[in-house]
């Protein structure tokens, strides 16, 4: 992988074209590493990226998403795009944009073990920081749209969300690739901090077309906080989500749900780690894979219950449907339990749709295509229903079903 640094990031001032191995990023992930075992990175590695930003999108609706209201923060090709954004003043929210000059590129930040995190810090072009004051309940979702619209462009972005005590927020994140761009890459990092008794729901939607998207997400929860993340993966060459949810306070609720629907050799990958460090918490995971036409899905979920974390309830579920012989799923639910008084379960199923059910639907005059769509809908509905906005639900469904 080569990045042509046209943006002159602080770390890379001297060279305009860099072999990344010259940077201290650690080694590019290899298949023999457990975490990358199922994720072939050849197609990503061979691309020569640049990070020169330019704005190409004139209207958000050209990206096929429904009209978004309220606060909308749009990044395009790694930069804040003010004309696409709608920055309204919300009294209880503090919003900061850190870019170029005011990002301190601390070389200590490169001490992460993960290559793509290091890459993100080294080439970071836009960091959005959102803080919500204590005791505030904001009902309208805040929208964060991250677009790649330029061929071979790498976008390294970060979004920090700090929810203070007893506040509540709902965020919708859209990761989008314009349909006429290819081989772009959004390498994004979410950093979430939930103070005590706060609550955050993130609906995350990924529709990258012929581009790549990796998301590293770090969530820290203090006591009695509630975190829900619903990840809907509709398209992209490789989509990879690495969620690290650290539960540091008692009586927390953590919930990770997802639907991933790769087709045509797309590779959608969900890695999750929930760390239960303390007692009396609950966590839930529910991921559904619908895979067809040589698509590949990965679910690798890990729940770690540390030694003193008694009375933990952790439930992890991954169900997959393969629609043909060419499609693949790697499912690996993991529990590591070091406490002795816990209720934990995990399960994974992979199957096909029932032939009898298909005949039943067809005998009522429903075509094969529509029947499969109905059954898919039935299969993923449980997760889609987590969102309570019917227009959003309908849109997500449509894109997941590739309708």
């Amino acid at each position: 992988m080569i990045i042509k640094d046209l943006n002159h990031n602080s770390l890379l001032k001297e060279n305009s074209k860099l072999d990344l191995e010259a940077l201290n990023l650690g080694s590019f992930p290899k298949r023999k590493e457990e975490r990358w075992k199922y994720t072939p990175l050849r197609s990503l590695k061979k691309i020569n990226f640049h990070n020169q930003f330019n704005f190409k999108i004139e209207h958000l609706n050209s990206l096929g998403i429904p009209k978004i209201e309220g606060l909308v923060i749009v990044l395009e090709n790694g930069k804040f795009n003010s004309s696409l954004s709608n920055i309204i003043d919300l009294m209880d929210i503090e919003l900061l944009f850190l870019n170029d000059g005011n990002i301190v590129n601390n070389s200590q930040e490169l001490s992460h073990k993960d290559y793509f995190t290091n890459l993100n810090f080294s080439f970071l072009t836009e960091k959005v920081v959102l803080k919500i004051k204590p005791n505030v309940n904001i009902n309208e979702p805040i929208n964060f749209v991250n677009i790649i619209s330029d061929d071979n462009c790498i976008s390294n972005t970060q979004f920090n969300i700090d929810i203070y005590e007893n506040s509540k927020l709902h965020i919708r994140q859209y990761f989008l690739g314009s349909s006429n761009s290819k081989d772009g890459f959004i390498n994004h990092r979410n950093q979430v901090s939930l103070k005590s008794q706060s609550s955050l729901t993130i609906d995350k939607f990924q529709d990258l077309n012929q581009n790549f998207n990796f998301c590293n997400e770090f969530i820290d929860q203090e006591q009695e906080s509630k975190f829900i993340m619903n990840t809907f993966s509709a398209s992209g060459i490789i989509l990879r989500n690495d969620v690290f949810n650290n539960v540091n306070g008692k009586n927390c609720h953590s919930e990770l749900n997802g639907v991933f629907a790769p087709i045509e050799k797309q590779h959608f990958d969900n890695h999750t780690t929930i760390n239960h460090f303390v007692a009396d918490c609950k966590s839930f995971e529910n991921y559904k894979g619908v895979i067809k036409e040589s698509g590949v899905g990965v679910f690798n979920g890990k729940v770690i219950v540390h030694q003193d974390a008694q009375k933990i309830e952790a439930f992890q579920k991954n169900n997959n449907i393969l629609l043909d012989d060419e499609s693949k799923i790697y499912s690996k639910p993991e529990l590591e339990i070091y406490a002795d008084d816990v209720r934990c379960s995990h399960g994974s199923t992979t199957g096909r749709f029932d032939e009898e059910a298909l005949f039943y639907l067809r005998s009522r005059g429903i075509s094969v295509k529509k029947s499969l769509e109905l059954m898919t809908l039935g299969f993923i509905n449980e997760v889609i229903e987590k969102s309570n906005d019917s227009a959003y639900k309908e849109f997500v469904l449509k894109r997941l079903l590739k309708d």
């Binding site: 039943y360 005998s363 005059g365 109905l374 039935g378």
Partner: protein
């Protein structure tokens, strides 16, 4: 002279290379009710599956002419659009798909085939209210997933409800009486009778005469080893109830 609805000629079919139907002939006119009876394994359910277009069954010979068209190669959905309906012996559960959404999709798919606009939500709901009353289908069941968690009786009522919604030309009721208590049986039979008209026909497949007290057939056929070996009027069903099937099998052998 009544109008011919379906004509089955010399129908032979296999499943897993095993011959099930072996030269079956049957003619049904509009306005008629036919009962097909026969011992276990005689091919009754196979006949219903083949007519509905289940591709697990391979038609090896013969023809099925439905409203002037050969349908033995036609897809199940196309048969449905043209007016074929099978009430399943074991209705299938479809998790996560609501009964309502399922039926609306079915009606809209048919409308699409005939180039008609989708049915407006208001009209659809009115129709649902009307037709579900016919079989006393509990309101809650309409919004639940298709057949999921339904009792045996509810599943069968749901089949007749779907039949009412789709208003088919030919309805095949495959052992609709199995698993029904006498009250449910009456309700289901009553629903079927109400749907009867001079434009459609019903085939009742059953083991027992009991259902035929409520859905009175014009013709009764006995199926044995994949063929109809005897046809008669409703008195044949009563005779079968008394004497069983063995006397017919012997007759045939002579």
């Amino acid at each position: 002279m009544s109008e011919l609805l379906i004509e089955i000629k010399d129908l032979e079919c296999n499943i897993d290379n095993q011959k099930i139907l072996q030269g079956l002939n049957l003619k049904i006119n509009k306005g008629e009710v036919h009962a097909i009876m026969g011992p276990n394994g005689s091919g009754k359910s196979t006949l219903s599956s083949v007519l509905a277009g289940n591709d697990n069954y391979e038609v090896t010979n013969g023809s099925i002419n439905f409203l002037g068209e050969e349908i033995s190669e036609m897809s199940p959905e196309e048969r449905s659009w043209k007016g074929m309906f099978l009430a399943f012996q074991y209705p299938v559960e479809i998790p996560g798909v609501s009964n309502i959404n399922f039926l609306r999709t079915a009606l809209n798919e048919r409308n699409k085939y005939f180039g008609i606009d989708s049915i407006p939500a208001k009209d659809f709901l009115k129709m649902v209210a009307e037709k579900s009353e016919l079989v006393g289908l509990n309101n809650k069941l309409k919004n639940r997933s298709v057949n999921e968690g339904f009792s045996g009786g509810e599943k069968k009522r749901n089949e007749i409800f779907q039949m009412a919604m789709l208003d088919p030309k030919l309805s095949i009721l495959d052992e609709t009486d199995s698993g029904l208590d006498i009250d449910a049986l009456k309700i289901v039979a009553n629903g079927v009778n109400k749907l009867k008209s001079s434009e459609n026909a019903t085939v009742v497949i059953t083991h027992y005469q009991r259902l035929l007290d409520y859905i009175v057939p014009d013709f009764v056929h006995v199926l044995h080893e994949g063929k109809i070996i005897k046809s008669g009027d409703k008195s044949l069903a009563l005779e079968l109830e008394k004497k069983g099937y063995d006397w017919l099998k012997t007759d045939e052998n002579i």
